[in-house]
């Protein structure tokens, strides 16, 4: 009689069974078979993808229209965040130590040199893709109504991308960064009205010790305070500002119809004749 009662043997569930189980269902809330509903849910029920709508203009997925530069810029920002955080584990923003940390990263830390290289080259690439993105948006007239304000957010993002790169330049504390930042911030000395060497600056009582350059560097020369300030701007402040701007930028894109696709061309008759007005 004992043979009829099967032994309580543990059996690994199959993939199909897993997908019916509670754990799977708690994570993925939709089925996976290829139905329009599931394809939509895959995007709409995913926090990372829900910035996309379920469907977009069929021509928007072509490379020739958008060049993909905005998306690549954002991806490079993510790469820079990840490699940047890894570098921060080994970096002290203090005079003397900073340079030694870079040497340590280059020669001793596993993949340290690779991480640093990738951070550097992704930063350069991000400047290029930002410019190309702006170039494309201009050529397709995508700053025109209703996207005027988003173009302005984009201009600010362009500025902050370049400032991110510039503040990062000083961090290795080598000759290259030191003199580049010296040259760069020396220009601030010449700010009209607020710089010690700018038009009407000295007349208003600005000296090298209280002008706008002093505020940027936290001193009258590029030294320990400037290094710390560059570090904070580079790793904390500007990424936060840029992230907020990116949220606005992407949200606006989404509200204006997501990734832009080519619009139907307008002809002169649309502007005057009876044919349109609806366009």
């Amino acid at each position: 009689m004992s043979e009829t009662k099967p032994k309580n043997k543990f059996k690994l569930p199959t993939a199909a069974e897993l997908k019916e189980g509670q754990i799977w269902k708690s994570v993925f809330r939709h089925k996976l078979d290829e139905t329009p509903r599931n394809r939509s849910l895959a995007v709409l029920s995913n926090v990372f993808l829900h910035l996309h709508p379920a469907k977009i203009n069929r021509d928007a997925v072509r490379y020739n229209y958008t060049w993909g530069m905005g998306g690549i810029t954002f991806y490079l920002f993510l790469v820079l965040t990840i490699t940047g955080v890894l570098l921060m584990f080994y970096y002290h923003p203090s005079k003397g130590q900073a340079y030694r940390d870079i040497m340590y990263l280059m020669h001793d830390v596993p993949f340290g040199n690779f991480t640093r290289n990738m951070h550097r080259w992704a930063a350069h690439a991000m400047i290029i893709t930002t410019w190309l993105h702006m170039f494309r948006v201009f050529l397709t007239g995508s700053y025109k109504p209703p996207r005027e304000f988003n173009w302005n957010i984009g201009v600010l993002l362009l500025l902050f991308t370049m400032l991110l790169s510039f503040t990062g330049y000083l961090l290795p504390d080598d000759q290259l960064g030191f003199w580049a930042v010296t040259v760069g911030t020396n220009m601030a000395r010449a700010t009209p009205v607020m710089g010690s060497e700018g038009p009407f600056g000295p007349q208003l009582g600005f000296t090298a010790f209280n002008d706008v350059r002093f505020a940027i560097l936290g001193g009258s020369i590029v030294d320990a305070n400037a290094l710390l300030r560059a570090y904070i701007w580079h790793c904390v402040a500007i990424p936060i500002i840029a992230s907020v701007l990116m949220i606005v930028h992407f949200w606006r894109i989404r509200k204006d119809g997501a990734i832009s696709g080519p619009a139907p061309v307008m002809i002169e008759q649309d502007l005057s004749g009876p044919v349109a007005k609806k366009a």
């Binding site: 394809r39 040497m103 995508s142 003199w179 010296t182």
Partner: protein, 311 residues
């Protein structure tokens, strides 16, 4: 021809992006214009045939009746985004394996780098320092560039070309952007990267960087050309102010004439503030190449020199 010097500049790791830009910018300019011209041909065809315009899908991209006008983001867009991520990652990995980020000697305030160059994307601004004082080149002009960029959507009243490539329908704005971005901004960067050597002196590509070269500065202020001495402060300042003022007034009037003639519609549609901004930005933008020519060709130092500021 000093090939070693040329190779040293072009293969400096930090100059790789600008060498890359030399290929990328022409490519994407061609790529964008190619599509613009294709759209222009379509527009011409539709304008000539209004009946076709009513039924045509009005894009150069292929379209067959019955096709959906939209596609699902998953998988059609996401797979492309994923592919783009992989390709970019691959490029970065290869780039990072084969090329090391530069690291110079530790920072030393007592040892000036010569030439001491900003990162490549700021070399346009640094090159402007040759032609203008720092308060203009480093503060005012970047401010105007950013402000001007931000003003574009509000002064461009042309309703055409919203969301598609076209040249014919937007000649004016496209020419202005090409001059500002491709010609001025990028050419200045190329000059700053490849031409400028020690002492920020002009070295043609392939010319050896001579650290001991001396150039006798023969630059004179504009007022000296007509015999006003530097010591005659008020006379010089007055003359300079007149010239600068005249440039803006005459340049503005010339723009006004040209706009009325060639950009009639823009002229009619813009309100006064928009029109004035367009003219001011145009006049200021062309001020840069004019100052460059005055400086490089005629050794003019300042157009307007005063004890407080110079232009």
């Amino acid at each position: 021809m000093d090939w070693h010097q040329l190779i040293k500049i072009t293969t400096a790791p930090d100059n790789v992006p600008i060498v890359l830009m030399l290929f990328l910018m022409p490519f994407y300019t061609w790529y964008g214009l190619k599509q613009s011209f294709a759209n222009d041909r379509l527009i011409e065809r539709l304008e000539a045939d209004p009946e076709l315009a009513k039924t045509h899908h009005r894009k150069t991209q292929p379209f067959v009746k019955g096709w959906d006008s939209t596609v699902h983001v998953w998988p059609y867009l996401l797979k492309i985004e994923f592919l783009a991520m992989i390709i970019v990652t691959l490029i970065l990995v290869v780039w990072s394996i084969f090329l090391d980020a530069p690291l110079e000697e530790p920072a030393n305030p007592n040892l000036t780098m010569n030439p001491s160059k900003a990162p490549w994307y700021f070399l346009g601004l640094q090159e402007m320092l040759v032609y203008f004082d720092p308060w203009i080149a480093g503060v005012v002009l970047p401010g105007i560039i950013l402000g001007g960029l931000m003003a574009i959507p509000y002064i461009d009243v042309n309703p055409r070309g919203n969301g598609y490539y076209t040249y014919k329908q937007r000649k004016f704005s496209i020419w202005m952007f090409f001059i500002g971005f491709l010609v001025l901004w990028l050419v200045l960067i190329v000059i700053g990267t490849f031409i400028r050597g020690p002492g920020w002196m002009w070295f043609w590509p392939g010319e050896t960087w001579d650290h001991h070269r001396i150039v006798h500065a023969m630059n004179r202020n504009l007022h000296e050309f007509i015999g006003i001495k530097d010591s005659e402060v008020w006379k010089a300042a007055g003359f300079g102010a007149t010239v600068v003022g005249a440039y803006f007034v005459l340049g503005g009037l010339l723009c006004d004439r040209l706009f009325r003639k060639f950009a009639t519609e823009m002229f009619k549609k813009q309100n006064f503030a928009q029109y004035a901004t367009t003219i001011a930005l145009t006049v200021m933008m062309f001020g840069l190449p004019i100052k460059m020519i005055l400086r490089l060709g005629f050794n003019v130092k300042y157009v307007m020199a005063t004890p407080w500021f110079n232009i």
